[in-house]
């Protein structure tokens, strides 16, 4: 089936550093999402993105977070500077349309550890 690739799978950084998480969504998909998974279970919505713009963001999407997708390249989540509470697994997802019942396709996640 359609694949979403996330690079890297693991990232360890020191608090205060910048980190960029990369996502290669399904090729013809137009809507992109980041979710944060905490303690191995709770999936929390962070942000979604369409046509070069943020559609909606949650309270977890702090000012230190930003997203972008330059033409034809990765959909990225940047955190600058990082904090200890940013340690989590971050999942990228994409969908073909913004229809409410559209299926989300997820990557395998990036495990971020902030020391």
């Amino acid at each position: 089936g359609p694949k979403v690739l996330q690079i890297p799978s693991h990232q360890i950084i020191d608090m205060g550093q910048m980190v960029t998480l990369n996502c290669d969504p399904v090729s013809n998909h137009l809507y992109f999402y980041w979710y944060k998974q905490i303690l191995g279970q709770q999936m929390e919505f962070l942000v979604n993105f369409y046509n070069g713009k943020v559609m909606e963001k949650s309270k977890l999407f702090k000012d230190q977070f930003s997203v972008e997708r330059p033409d034809g390249s990765y959909f990225t989540l940047k955190i600058q500077p990082t904090a200890l509470e940013d340690s989590a697994v971050y999942f990228c997802a994409s969908s073909l349309s913004g229809w409410g019942a559209e299926t989300l396709y997820f990557g395998s996640g990036t495990r971020l550890t902030v020391l």
């Binding site: 279970q41 997802a93 409410g100 989300l104 396709y105």
Partner: protein
């Protein structure tokens, strides 16, 4: 307040048993409901969804779910589980007026051989 809840954090059953994983929601207006499965160390994979019509929907690998407006529920069922069904299952809800799916806290299903 829009919420989606999965009351069981863990469910353990024997291989061959039937199982029901519960999902309840609190939303106003039209909604879309989905179930996803997450195997250990992997991303979520779509199982099934409901948005209209027959309240019982069929998904992959013998899973089905039933939408109940009166109970505000969308429980997932399987008649005979296999050890490979061991995973975390997430219920997701999206409001018609919303832009993203909100996930429940997940239910970890353990199937004992």
């Amino acid at each position: 307040t829009q919420t989606v809840s999965q009351s069981d954090a863990h469910v353990t059953v024997f291989e061959g048993d039937s199982v029901e994983l519960r999902c309840n929601y609190s939303y106003g207006g039209s909604i879309y409901l989905s179930w996803y499965i997450q195997h250990h160390g992997r991303g979520l994979q779509f199982l099934l969804k409901y948005y209209s019509g027959n309240p019982v929907v069929q998904g992959v690998n013998g899973f089905e779910a039933e939408f109940s407006k009166s109970d505000s529920s969308f429980h997932l069922r399987k008649a005979s589980v296999h050890w490979s069904d061991s995973a975390v299952y997430f219920c997701a809800v999206r409001a018609n007026s919303g832009t993203y799916q909100r996930f429940g806290t997940g239910t970890k299903l353990q199937v004992v051989p």
